[in-house]
Symmetry: C2
Subunit: 286 residues, 2 copies
DNA sequence: CTAATAGTGTCTGTTAGACACTATCTA
DNA sequence: TAGATAGTGTCTAACAGACACTATTAG
């Protein structure tokens, strides 16, 4: 005995009569915030837009979701199409941006993803397809004011190689019990990010920085075996400040197990450690 | 001098020629996880579906985004249409679910939002429009196994009034450096949640529980002035376990300021406090 | 007085910041 | 040996869990 709706239709009848285009549908895209650490700096992959809109601006790799394609698959495909990169160690959804007027073409709802990978997973990054260029930008965020429910930060996105620098002022403000984040580009910049991509970048930086100390997220930016100094270097690159070596080692060792191997460096050889996966569940979904 | 793309088009020409329907577009919906605390329990608002698909199942209030409507506005509108509720103290995006096969009608990408509100903001909740019924369900999550990067929990969603109970087994597993969450309904249930709504509910519970101690999120479930005991009751309802009164008071007072007012109760009158908004920036976007 | 609820104080083990120190390699 | 990097130990203040205690109302 099949359930029928108020029009007396079975599920099959309902579906047969269903018209997905009764109303105008938005278009759906995905964007990737891909980060790594190299040369002691947190890095972000950007492409230069080849076509309208935002032509010539730097942008997150991304593009349209195929109708029958899962979103995660779409964002991986777009990244590969535009930059030739296929390796991902850490991968999660960040946020969906869907303001009605965020793109001049049509209503476009975009979902941003965050991916992290160790430096040596990135062989060659070359612009392909829709991208006029691709480059790794150094990225740093520094809080400049913090009071009464308002936090003002300076978010710098710089590529020496491309002679490109973008400096944004990001303001997080508590309004009616929830946070509102605004950003504006500062005049010392010589180029800009397409659309609202700065918001996704800002959220990604916040996420990685907030979790650097309390979760194992750093190990997605490191090879499987690494020295304590390498971990600390990545930690300092992500947070943007130096930390005490003794204290850092004391605390991080709780998440590690010694492999028994050594790495020869200039002075005393360093012991190699690997991340104890017992601590992985700390990587919350939130 | 206007920028032109490889086809020699200006932005205006490009936009004029742009066809948003060159490819099939998914449909876009929003869903609301609305929670409150009453009778010492964390509560969740669900509606009973009146139409296919998932007819007769309990579901999150929600529906289609109008083409030129912001997503936040859409989710508020749908909530009002289906349940008559308009008050929101806390409001944020949770996650976007977009698996290609998650809805039998067509490709539907849905964005779930979380809203919290104090009990006394909810006047009458009545099913309207697309909903056959609406009810507040008690919700509790209890971890039953935790080892080696895997966490298994039991998520109970119960309404005595509607004689409805749904028990899900939720498994968070660390795979290749990121978390995968799976859920299955247990046979002791007598009804179920539509589509993948259990995933949004699970994320919402995690989020509120994780932030209960370290942020001011609880104050979105409380009136502007409240006693320490009322705060502790809400805390215990959210986390699902009792806590030490002395320690709780010592710690929570850091976020409060005394209003000087008193509330007469059965025994000694209780001092009233309000949340110190200096602590609101702790409400991170992550 | 008792019952009921509000509210405080104190002990202890753990953690986090600051900082001085030792160890082992190469040239 | 010096120079460089790895790695340890210790003091202290702050914090967190456990638990015993006092305070003020109504009746």
């Amino acid at each position: 005995m099949e359930k029928r709706n108020e029009q007396g239709q079975t599920l099959e009848e309902f579906l047969a009569a269903y018209d997905a285009n009764r109303y105008r549908n938005p278009s759906n895209t995905v964007d990737m915030v891909l980060m790594t650490v190299s040369e002691g700096k947190l890095k972000l992959l950007l492409i230069k837009r080849k076509n309208h809109p935002f032509i010539g601006d730097w942008a997150l790799p991304g593009g349209f979701i195929d109708f029958e394609e899962d979103m995660e698959k779409a964002v991986m495909r777009e990244l590969e199409e535009e930059t030739n990169i296929t390796d991902h160690t850490y991968f999660r959804q960040l946020y969906t941006f869907g303001n009605a007027d965020r793109d001049p073409r049509t209503r476009i709802i975009t979902t941003a993803y965050l991916s992290l990978t160790p430096e040596d997973n990135i062989r060659q990054t070359k612009a392909q397809d829709d991208a006029a260029d691709a480059a790794w930008f150094s990225i740093s965020k520094e809080v400049i004011r913090l009071d009464g429910g308002t936090r003002e930060s300076r978010l710098s996105i710089v590529s020496e190689e491309k002679n490109s620098h973008m400096i944004y002022l990001v303001t997080d403000e508590a309004q009616h019990n929830y946070m509102v984040t605004k950003s504006e580009i500062l005049p010392e910049s010589n180029c800009r990010l397409a659309a609202d991509h700065i918001k996704a970048v800002n959220m990604a930086v916040d996420l990685v920085q907030n979790r650097a100390a309390s979760t194992g997220i750093l190990f997605n930016l490191l090879p499987d075996e690494c020295t304590l100094r390498e971990i600390q270097n990545v930690y300092e690159a992500v947070t943007g400040h130096k930390t005490d070596t003794g204290n850092f080692r004391r605390d991080i060792k709780k998440m590690l197990k010694a492999t028994g191997n050594q790495k020869m460096v200039k002075g005393k050889p360093a012991a190699l450690y690997s991340f104890n996966p017992m601590y992985q569940y700390l990587e919350e979904n939130l």
